[in-house]
């Protein structure tokens, strides 16, 4: 996926993204990091066709994403948004079936493939036992996994996650990250996500995109790009960058 010269502003005309150029490597995990308001989620919105850029284009398989028919695009890109809502009495399984929408017509019945994919998505996310529970009765971590399961049932080569670990306890954060890793390694999905925790980004990503004020500052393998100076520049925080045999590379904030 190629992101070319993207400039984007909402109705207020303030530019949220300036001239963004990126290449998303397929079959890898790419994480976008940066301070609040730097345009991470806006960028994710542009590459998932939710935000229409004023300038530039996003090319997927040789074609601009806004040239795709809506269902055709939905068979390529799955997206899990940061905030989601569903009717309170909807069951997990019903929700996950929504992921099959792009593969069907309005009146077509469930196919074997639908069932197979939904079952797979439920099992991947560890929700198979909970499939008949109502969404409202799940914990925050389980709800997040239910939305990921919906995107998995969509059966897309690309999966986009907007801050999938926010508001979750440490355990559930890692549960989601392990799931992401497994999806990439075992099922070959290309994953692009937004994370707040730099250490998690370092640990789980093949590539990191660092953003500030709507611009891409640095992009590449975490080991090559994460430095004391970069973090100081982007976040204004003093850190030490450490290397450990067990933990790999990590950063420790020590002050501002």
């Amino acid at each position: 996926m190629e992101i070319k010269d993207i400039t984007f502003a909402y109705q207020d005309k303030i530019k949220r993204l300036h001239d963004v150029n990126l290449h998303i490597k397929e079959g890898e995990i790419t994480t976008i990091i940066g301070p609040n308001g730097c345009g991470k989620s806006t960028l994710l919105g542009v590459i998932t066709n939710n935000n229409q850029p004023q300038v530039g284009q996003v090319i997927l398989d040789g074609k601009n994403i806004n040239q795709y028919k809506s269902k055709e695009l939905a068979r390529k890109l799955g997206v899990v948004h940061q905030q989601n809502s569903a009717p309170s009495d909807m069951t997990v399984e019903k929700l996950v079936y929504y992921g099959r929408l792009p593969h069907k017509n309005t009146f077509s019945p469930k196919s074997d493939k639908d069932e197979e994919k939904v079952e797979w998505a439920l099992k991947c996310t560890g929700l198979y036992e909970k499939r008949n529970e109502e969404i409202d009765n799940l914990s925050g971590g389980q709800q997040q996994r239910a939305w990921i399961a919906m995107a998995l049932a969509q059966d897309t080569p690309f999966l986009f996650l907007d801050e999938p670990t926010s508001y979750l306890d440490l355990y559930y954060q890692y549960e989601i990250l392990e799931l992401v890793k497994m999806l990439c390694e075992e099922h070959g999905l290309t994953i692009v996500m937004v994370l707040h925790d730099i250490n998690q980004a370092i640990q789980y990503s093949h590539n990191i995109i660092v953003m500030k004020h709507g611009k891409v500052v640095e992009t590449g393998n975490p080991k090559n790009i994460i430095t004391k100076e970069l973090i100081q520049d982007i976040y204004g925080v003093n850190v030490v960058v450490k290397q450990d045999d067990d933990a790999g590379m990590y950063i420790v904030p020590i002050g501002i």
């Binding site: 909402y10 109705q11 998932t48 066709n49 939710n50 028919k69 809506s70 269902k71 055709e72 695009l73 939905a74 068979r75 890109l77 799955g78 997206v79 948004h81 905030q83 989601n84 809502s85 569903a86 009717p87 309170s88 009495d89 909807m90 929504y98 992921g99 929408l101 792009p102 309005t106 009146f107 969509q154």
Partner: protein
């Protein structure tokens, strides 16, 4: 699941019972046996009178109730707003106003009343949508705009009424509804368009369900949200306008019944739409029947009785359940 089945069975049973009771009771009182015999043989004079005077009224009450309730259900789905209702957001008063204007100035076009109603209802709906859209629909803003649009159309209609006396208004009542003096011609119109509207409403149940998710989620699933909204809205406006054209303005039924339905049969529109149709028909018919029999020969407008019964029942249900749609 049992609760859903029982709710359906009870409501359908009550609907039959009230329909029969309503036919047999009134200024001419006959037994159910006489009624049924008369309907089939056509020899009982009283039954013939009932057929001419009471039956049209009953059929209109049934269809108006079903149409307004389902319209409320659809509007709530489209606007994702638990307070959306054809009466509150001005669709009904818009429908009434345009009909009055047209009939006042072009009395010969009386038979096009349903069409004018539809245009008026659509106009009000477009106004509400247009004025409340600010990069998304804010539920509170939308209801306030709706209340304002409703106030303007209601006021204009009252102005028209007071300017040219009431004789022209025989077909349409603006601020409350009466179901007296209905003919088989009225029945034909509401049955035809009402049935079409109800069938269409049921066909879009899946879209209504989809709209329970956020727009951006649906968009990423390749679902064309705006097209679905547009189609559902047209059906909702059709149902509300046809009911208003024939039966007058019943505020509140489109709010009450869907909420009662949600607590009894859940949020899945495949059940909610048919349930609301049946329950709405039951509510209006019950209200109208009580209205004309309680202190006869004085008639209490059905809309008043409906508001009293329905309101009390809704409070009862909401107190019992911990879930309110949209919360």
């Amino acid at each position: 699941m049992y609760k859903k089945i029982i709710s359906f069975v009870v409501v359908i049973g009550l609907l039959f019972a009230v329909t029969i009771y309503s036919m047999a009771t009134g200024s001419i009182d006959i037994t159910v046996k006489e009624l049924i015999e008369g309907l089939f043989t056509g020899t009982n004079e009283n039954v013939e009178i009932i057929k001419d005077l009471r039956l049209p009224r009953i059929i209109i009450a049934l269809f108006a109730g079903a149409a307004l309730s389902v319209s409320g259900v659809l509007l709530q789905a489209v606007m994702r707003n638990p307070l959306a209702e054809p009466g509150i957001i001005g669709v009904a008063s818009g429908a009434g106003f345009v009909s009055i204007i047209m009939i006042t100035f072009f009395p010969t076009l009386y038979f096009f009343t349903p069409l004018f109603s539809f245009i008026g209802g659509a106009l009000a709906f477009v106004l509400v949508y247009f004025f409340s859209w600010k990069s998304g629909l804010n539920p509170l803003r939308m209801i306030l705009i709706g209340v304002a649009v409703n106030a303007v159309f209601t006021g204009l209609s009252q102005l028209m009424s007071s300017m040219n006396g009431s004789s022209m208004m025989s077909g349409i009542s603006v601020t409350s509804s009466t179901l007296t003096m209905k003919t088989w011609g009225d029945v034909g119109v509401i049955v035809l368009y009402g049935t079409i509207g109800l069938i269409l409403a049921f066909l879009v149940f899946a879209w209504c369900n989809h709209l329970g998710l956020k727009d951006k989620t649906l968009k990423n699933l390749g679902f064309q949200v705006n097209r679905a909204r547009f189609v559902i809205s047209i059906i909702a406006v059709l149902l509300a306008s046809i009911a208003t054209a024939i039966a007058g303005v019943f505020t509140f039924v489109g709010l009450l019944i869907p909420h009662i339905g949600r607590t009894l049969v859940g949020n899945n529109y495949i059940l909610l739409i048919p349930f609301s149709a049946v329950a709405g028909a039951l509510l209006i018919l019950t209200a109208d029947t009580l209205g004309r029999t309680l202190i006869s020969p004085i008639e209490i407008p059905a809309s008043m009785i409906m508001a009293v019964i329905g309101g009390a029942f809704l409070i009862f249900l909401l107190r019992k359940s911990d879930r309110i749609y949209g919360n």
